[in-house]
Symmetry: C2
Subunit: 456 residues, 2 copies
């Protein structure tokens, strides 16, 4: 229907904005990826041999060297490391959340320290709990009811949002800024309901932020099921106490790298198209979907160009950004260097929403979105239909000030927030064809944008 509608529209409104051979090239891109791609086996190595790789960790160093060797082995025109200093956060050995109430006795809840959080100290923190859904409720309680307490942020995802990133966006300020808002009113710690799209037993980590001049208090996330339990128990026993002990700490800055591979353009070598993912991951699970798969897709775009003998007009860069999860130092440094070297970045595409079956792209520029929609008939045979306004991604965001156009790869979102930032984000939960279909879809779009340009 879409194909028909678009073809008909094309006839009504003018000829389509692509050539007859494009469909053939795009088919060859999908065929190559679905039959010859090493991306899945490479992801196996990154997740199973390297494992998780929080910025500044030894795992991150191994991942840098692995992806450098991988791209060098593919014979890309240039492969290099871009130095960047990153914060090193250490979880430490212990994390515990215990609920004590006459109604339940002692219950240990499923907990994970939030990234960047300070620890509780060895003796831990025991205090009464106030539950709120949002910052307005917290402020309404005021200092008198919050001081000395643990604030429990318990606003769930809105399950009716079809794209789960919208539900995430509607809940994540509790995790990101909850510790600041609670500390302003004298709270001693925060417990946050996990950023999850279902009720289960898996706690989700992720970064929290502190603010200059506001006391740094510890933050942890509990599983959604235990958040429900804590909430129900609080209803029955408002005087229940919670005990938290965490040993996390910020260890200072360490040297690390963005890893960059390049195919140099044949016509406009000084104009760059970046395809990026982030190489760091949380220190739970294996960072398979977030964002090992995105990195492997970025590399696969360039590998496929080479394998098919497609020489790009512009220079294509696969960039493995470092420290997206808890600092964004890699993305910022990449943009800083690009500006300092006067490298003209016309376009940046990021894959950092998991590597599930592809749905389309979010496009940050209205004119570019219109142009890409004109290519819809080329994508329909691959079940790609979503071309919608939206941001590109965190790592490429700092390039925005350089008039770089932004695109985000948009995979299906339904499964993402069952495993995002958890021990379940492992290789076994990545599907080979879904990873490859995503890589081929990004490659097809890069092919068209390189060929026809990013302007109207």
């Amino acid at each position: 229907m879409r194909y028909f509608a678009c073809t008909l529209l094309g006839l009504l409104l003018g000829s389509p904005a692509f050539g007859q051979d494009d469909a053939g090239v795009i088919k060859s891109i999908y065929d190559e990826t679905l039959t010859n791609s090493p991306a899945y086996e490479n992801l196996r190595y990154l997740t199973k041999k390297v494992g998780h790789r929080l910025a500044g960790s030894t795992g991150a160093a191994a991942a840098v060297e692995y992806t450098r060797q991988l791209m060098a082995g593919y014979g890309f025109d240039t492969v290099y490391l871009q130095p960047v200093m990153v914060p090193r956060w250490v979880r430490g050995g212990e994390e515990q959340l215990r609920m004590v109430s006459a109604h339940t006795g002692t219950v240990e809840l499923a907990v994970t320290a939030l990234g960047n959080s300070v620890g509780t100290g060895k003796t831990g923190i025991a205090a009464r709990v106030v539950e709120v859904q949002n910052f307005d409720e917290l402020k309404a309680l005021g200092k008198k009811k919050v001081e000395g307490k643990i604030v429990f942020f318990n606003r769930p995802f809105d399950y009716t949002k079809i794209n789960t990133f919208r539900a995430y966006g509607g809940a994540v300020n509790q995790r990101g800024s909850g510790a600041i808002e609670a500390a302003k009113l004298g709270a001693v710690a925060v417990v946050v309901r996990s950023m999850a799209s279902q009720v289960d037993d898996v706690p989700h980590t992720g970064s929290l932020h502190y603010q200059e001049g506001i006391k740094k208090i510890p933050g942890v996330a509990v599983s959604t099921r235990d958040a429900d339990l804590l909430s129900a128990t609080l209803q029955a026993d408002p005087e229940l106490k919670v005990f938290i002990r965490t040993t996390s700490y910020m260890a200072g800055m360490e040297p690390s790298y963005n890893v960059i591979g390049q195919l140099t353009g044949s016509e406009k070598p000084d104009e760059y198209i970046v395809i990026g993912g982030h190489l760091d991951s949380w220190d739970v699970g294996e960072g398979a979907h977030d964002d090992g798969g995105g990195c492997m897709q970025a590399i696969e775009v360039l590998r496929t160009f080479k394998a098919l003998g497609l020489r790009p007009k512009h220079s294509l860069r696969a960039v493995m950004f470092m420290n997206e999860e808890n600092g964004l130092k890699g993305g910022k440094e990449y943009a800083r260097v690009a500006l300092a070297k006067n490298e003209k970045h016309i376009l940046a595409i990021e894959s950092d929403r998991g590597v599930f079956t592809p749905r389309g792209f979010t496009v940050g520029n209205a004119a570019l979105l219109t142009k890409i929609k004109g290519w819809a008939p080329l994508f329909a045979p691959y079940e790609i239909y979503e071309f919608i306004p939206g941001g590109g991604g965190a790592d490429i965001g700092p390039l925005k000030n350089q008039n770089t156009k932004m695109i985000g790869f948009l995979p299906d979102s339904h499964r993402y927030f069952t495993l995002h930032h958890t021990a379940n984000d492992v290789f076994e939960n990545v599907d080979k064809r879904e990873l490859e279909m995503g890589a081929a879809t990004i490659t097809a779009l890069v092919y068209l944008l390189d060929k026809y340009g990013v302007n109207e």
Copy 2:
């Protein structure tokens, strides 16, 4: 783009074929399903408490009673069992495939007996092997080169087919009819490459057929990785021998049931819309995607109508068909009874392609397809874009002779043939939101078809 295109087309070609309130009703259907559906927990019971349920097994009997109680508990207008005799195939305790070659020594391969297959007898079968890609190659070899041998069918999936069911369709005659074609030339057994969309260690079962007057020889499937190993070893050592021992047998016919729940229509109670899945499964795994999830979705359609107070004009039936996997006796009996009772079935929808994220529907009637495409703008907010020609499904197929229009639910296909008919088709590999999104999508279509009818 699609929405825009269709809206524009609507303006150009006439007003859209739906009312302003339909978008609101459909949103309420998705909201209800995504927030209140018990389908996932019901599937947990069916898979974890009942388990697998091959036709004629005690598991199948438990599944019949479970789904009957479930629908009765939801207060559907009528819930009843429809008796049907089904074949009972028994795998028996042993299945073994051993490759013996001077090049490899003795290697045990990952194997599963094919459904409906006879066993090898206790002593097993040892023979030399001929490898073929298809029946033409087999016939070209002729009786002289096949007689007394084991035929190894090794044609892989075509990975470049975007919908994996097309790849399955291009390979499955090896499993279904390979034993007949091999026996015609005097082969003693067949080994079939698993019907899988990737190379891995998991053997896939599934039914084979015999033909009156042709000797019944045993059939087994090997994992795709072991198929590659067997093939490579055969290249090096054409004289290698394979030993097969299986203990499967057909145990005769047993009584069983289709399970039927009905909401009776307010305007045309004597016209029926069937929403079906099959309750039986293979005897490996738990039949979670195939087709426990499809059954739970069919029930969820009726539950959602009731929960939202939507009274259907036509009678809606959720039908759990029995014995789809190895006989189709349930589907045939349902159609026979419908004809005998002169029940007018205007429409049948089947969910039997797994319960992955929904993509759309296959529609077996051109005029109906056109009508449904007119509703595309109602589905776009839920990322549903595929309305394509195609069959409805095996269970509803026998209704075709009664002028019943056929629709198949079309989920994303990329993961299906990693777990179809394997030990990996378990509850853990079903995603809650994907199951629910599928149920809501089917409900939305049933709502529209019930309201506007299935004719032009």
